[in-house]
């Protein structure tokens, strides 16, 4: 590998390099800041993300290239997720700047670690080699563990971190063990080779399942979701939102990358060089989707804490997205990518509301939300919009997202998929039930006790607006989003 190649390769990861430099800058800048002023590093992070976005956009014209001795592949598909991560991270930074929880601690490292996790994700979705994949996923995980436990003096946060760490470590250990077998079977760490090499041999299938555990953990698919509620509840709210959106998207992105060769009509995967995939994993995802959405929705019903409820709801949404994997074609992939964008706005919005509530009231219990509409009308209306979108009601983007997924299912035209769609609809109804309970508490019920009036800052409103507007506008006019998604698949 000559210097020229190295430089060319480095050029391909320029956005990631920008991000790395930002992290370094934050760490350096943080040395000069006191606790009270340390949140300024967040602004640095924003600037860094902006620059990264610019580089990413400039990269838009380069054809798909494999770099670093086929460790990563730089293509539109990865860029789609990277944009997603940048947007999410930027919003999370904004959330964090606004979060009382986060601001009680010195936040230099916080932003550094946050961006590190993002960096890991960027590599995760580009990785086409298990080595890179493992490194990236561990980067994400390790950063996330720290972030989840960032509120050092908070018991729940520590507990969340511990649970997350132990669970994550075991999951990644199992995955690694699986990878080791796949290596043994194919003699290569190439992910495409692994997929191509898997025969119906039992060992190979077991190994594949072991690997999928790692993905499932990140994607919070049942039955590997147990960490989710506890971690989401205990972690600082912006981090919860981050885990729910970015981390999950990264997991899905990586899985898509891994399984792309199995998508019959998608051309962007690594060439299999004559190897035809003999594997049909669709039934597996059929089951996982059903279990995941059902568990998420059913358990969500009895939750009384908004954050925990949203945690279950995010499990359920992972289930909805997984329905697309049960179909596994280009249309389904499009629908799933679309869903992520929709999910980004609506779920971040919902978590933002939870965060604002914690800022204002110090708790996110549903009981404390009662009668909120009279005290914080905009917050209540915005929350209603987000929840309606999460339910999948027009005219919100959540409706279109669900519509796409169900469309793909029904277009398959077999009873397996009809029944999956039916289960999906049933789950939507269940989800409506608990989402509406939140809205009902906010809008219809009276507060049990007289509460002091709460202040409302323009920043709250602005942040909400940033998320409410796309949630609705994209629900009415989503053509750009479709284009954005289709570009990712070229």
């Amino acid at each position: 590998m000559d210097t020229q190649t190295v430089f060319r390769n480095l050029q391909l990861v320029l956005p990631e390099i920008v991000l790395t430099l930002t992290i370094l800058a934050i760490i350096g800048y943080d040395l000069f800041l006191r606790r009270e002023t340390s949140h300024r590093t967040g602004l640095v992070a924003l600037v860094g993300l902006a620059i990264m976005a610019v580089f990413l956009i400039r990269q838009g014209t380069t054809p798909p290239t494999e770099a670093f001795m086929q460790l990563v592949r730089v293509d539109a598909f990865g860029r789609f997720f990277k944009f997603l991560f940048i947007a999410t991270t930027a919003l999370i930074v904004l959330f964090s700047l606004h979060s009382r929880e986060v601001r009680t601690y010195k936040s230099g490292e916080y932003y550094a670690i946050l961006l590190t996790a993002t960096l890991g994700m960027c590599f995760l979705v580009s990785a086409i080699n298990f080595l890179m994949f493992y490194l990236a996923i561990e980067t994400v995980s390790l950063s996330s563990y720290v972030l989840a436990g960032y509120l050092k003096r908070d018991r729940m946060s520590s507990e969340a971190a511990l649970k997350y760490l132990l669970y994550g470590a075991v999951a990644s250990g199992v995955m690694l063990f699986g990878i080791s077998y796949l290596f043994g079977i194919t003699g290569s760490f190439s992910m495409a080779a692994a997929i191509g090499g898997i025969s119906t041999q039992k060992v190979a299938l077991v190994a594949l399942l072991f690997v999928l555990v790692g993905f499932a953990f990140k994607m919070s698919l049942a039955p590997f979701h147990f960490w989710v509620p506890d971690v989401y509840q205990g972690a600082p709210t912006p981090i919860t939102a981050y885990l729910a959106v970015a981390s999950k998207a990264a997991g899905f992105g990586a899985l898509f990358r891994f399984l792309l060769p199995l998508f019959p009509d998608v051309e962007i995967g690594q060439t299999l060089q004559g190897v035809i995939a003999r594997l049909d994993v669709r039934p597996l995802f059929w089951v996982l989707a059903v279990v995941t959405m059902s568990v998420g929705n059913l358990v969500a019903i009895r939750q009384r804490d908004l954050k925990r409820l949203l945690a279950y709801s995010s499990i359920a949404h992972a289930g909805y997205i997984t329905m697309g994997l049960a179909v596994m074609n280009a249309k389904a992939l499009e629908a799933m990518l679309f869903y992520f964008v929709a999910y980004l706005f609506m779920n971040l919005g919902a978590f933002l509301v939870a965060m604002i509530l914690i800022n204002k009231l110090g708790s996110s219990l549903l009981d404390d939300c009662k009668g909120l509409v009279s005290r914080l009308p905009f917050l209540a209306v915005a929350m209603a919009v987000f929840l309606f979108s999460l339910t999948g009601m027009p005219p919100t983007v959540g409706f279109i997202a669900k519509f796409n997924i169900f469309y793909v299912l029904i277009a398959q035209g077999t009873w397996w998929y009809y029944s999956l769609a039916l289960i999906g609809v049933g789950n939507t109804v269940v989800s409506l039930y608990y989402y509406m309970r939140i809205v009902n508490a906010m809008v219809l019920q009276k507060a049990d006790v007289e509460r002091p009036p709460v202040s409302w800052s323009p920043a709250d409103g602005l942040l909400l607006l940033v998320l409410v507007v796309p949630t609705i506008v994209l629900g009415i006019y989503w053509s750009p989003l479709i284009r954005f998604v289709t570009v990712a698949l070229q």
């Binding site: 075991v170 399942l209 039955p223 590997f224 960490w227 109804v429 009902n440 019920q445």
Partner: protein, 690 residues
Amino acid sequence: MLNIAICIIAIPFVALVVHTFLSARMPRRGDWFATGAVFLSLGLACWLFVQMLFSPTPIYINFHIDWLNLGSRIIPAGILLDHLTIVMLVVVTLVSALVYLFSIGYMHGDVRYGRYFSYLLLFTTSMLGLVLANNLLVLYIFWELVGLSSYLLIGHWFERDTAAKAALKAFIVTRIGDVGMFFGILRIYFHLGTFDYEAIFQAVANGTLSGNIRVLAGLGIFFGAMGKSAQFPLHVWLPDAMEGPTPISALIHAATMVAAGVYLVGRMFLIFDPTVLLIIAYIGCFTALFAATIAVVMDDMKKVLAYSTISQLGYMMLGLGVGGYVAGLFHLTTHASFKALLFLGSGSVIHALGTQSMREMGGLRKKMPVTTVTFLIGTLAIVGCPFFAGFYSKDAIIGAALAFGLHHPQHLALFLVSVFTAGLTAFYMFRLFFKTFTGSPRDQEKFHHAHESPLVMTIPLVVLAFLAIVSGHGGWFQKYNPAPQLSTYEAQQVAEHASHVQPEASSSFAANRLVPAGTPVAEHGAEEIADEEELEHRAHLGAMVASTLFGAIGFFLAYLMFFKRRLSSAAIIQRFRAVYTLLSNKYYIDDFFHAVLVRTLHAVVWLVGVFDKYVIDGLVNFSGLATRFTSWLVGKFDNIAVDGAVNGTAWTTGILGEILSLSQTGRIRNYLLFIVLGIVTLVTVFVFIK
């Protein structure tokens, strides 16, 4: 002439609109304005009447414009002006005008004086519309509108619960009739696709409308007439309607609106086939007798008059039913004058005394001479005293009944009953007169305050009294025999109906049923028509004698009992206690309706209400109940009950969620175990079982 007709209805209508919005700003709440408008209409109507009397050819104008486009057909609305219409116009405007005038005195100082005149104008307008209408749909519209104004005016003093209830009753009972009528209209429309009188008569004439359809249509329409004209058993509203101000009783519930039923039967005469006519005759006859018997025992002055009205309406129906087309309508006209007179007279008395009960009256003739005289004239007219209006018209009916009876001996009862009723009429009317105006006052204090009514009230009385005498004379009513306006064939039909000559066997199957079984239909040849006329003439003579005789007997009895007091009414009541109770309770018809219909309805309503609340709503909310159970299980989620309705499986959902959430133990070691279990399961299912 058409323009005049339009003006006749337009004037009160414009007055109504203006008065409704501006009466508060008008002097004296616009009473003279309203009265003036109606007098104007009256003038025009009289002009038409004169035209009619001296017109060499019959007047017949059918004018219409497209009104309602149904999509399939265009329904016109228009005016039919013939002699019947003109007479009705005169009757309506005349009585209206006099009642307006009377009301100025009678209603003086009323809380809703202005509103009263608005309502009156509404009534006059709609009544004129009803009369002028040239098709059934338009007629039905005004038919309902007079019902509305009747409702409003009965309930004018709505502070009195009885008035409010009476208004309600009047509207609903007549509405029941209206539904029947509407059914008849539907029947006709379905069959002919038109509402137009002319077209309908044409259809009857050429046999398009015949058989069962014609019977049903006729019955439906007659049912409506029964409601409006208070024929048994839909008569129950009329006595209660006396809760309205007395001028209203005179105008609406004696002279005009209640006669609308009779008018309708007359107008639609051709549509009734002989069976239906027979039914009409019997119902009318029965009503006449039935109401007269009740009138005998009533103590309330207005109630007596009310039952008398029902009875007289029965006469009219009888007259029409037995084919006395002219007789029935003639009686309508004369009755309008003398019954309005009687009511206004009683209004005058009530105005003076402040009571309606005859038990508190007596001896008023000294205090109220004008009222007394005019009332006496009215009484004489109604009992059919010779040379008064009622004599001619009533005799025409009874004569027709007798002629009919002679033709069809099995229906002779119609005649007998009507004659007997004439006697009853004389009895109760004189009972009323004697008890009120003669003898000694029963309530000295009231008597003391009594006084003759002001001029605005007495003038109408005098005018009406004049009419009650003259309206029967001159044979003018023959003019409004509708026959000349119709085409020759139709005219023939009318004549045949009236005389029950069935020249063609095939004309209708139902017609044959009127003819006694076994009578060869063909016998009724042209040469027999002369005999028919002879028979008719004789019948009228006989009827005149009989009814005068019975009237005299009635009068004499009343004279003995209430004037000379030779016979003690109390003793007679004592003697026939049961009969008296039955009569004074109006044969318990009201109670029967209340017990059976109203109660049943209330029960049904209650049941339906409960059903809706607990079954229909409950069914949907069943899941709500189930969820409540869940909520008890988890702790308490207060409002879940309703949310549960999201899906019927809320319960299962809750339980499932509960069970699933058990796995979320909070212990990391369990979670790790679940990873292992998860892997094992997946491996088992997808690697080994698959």
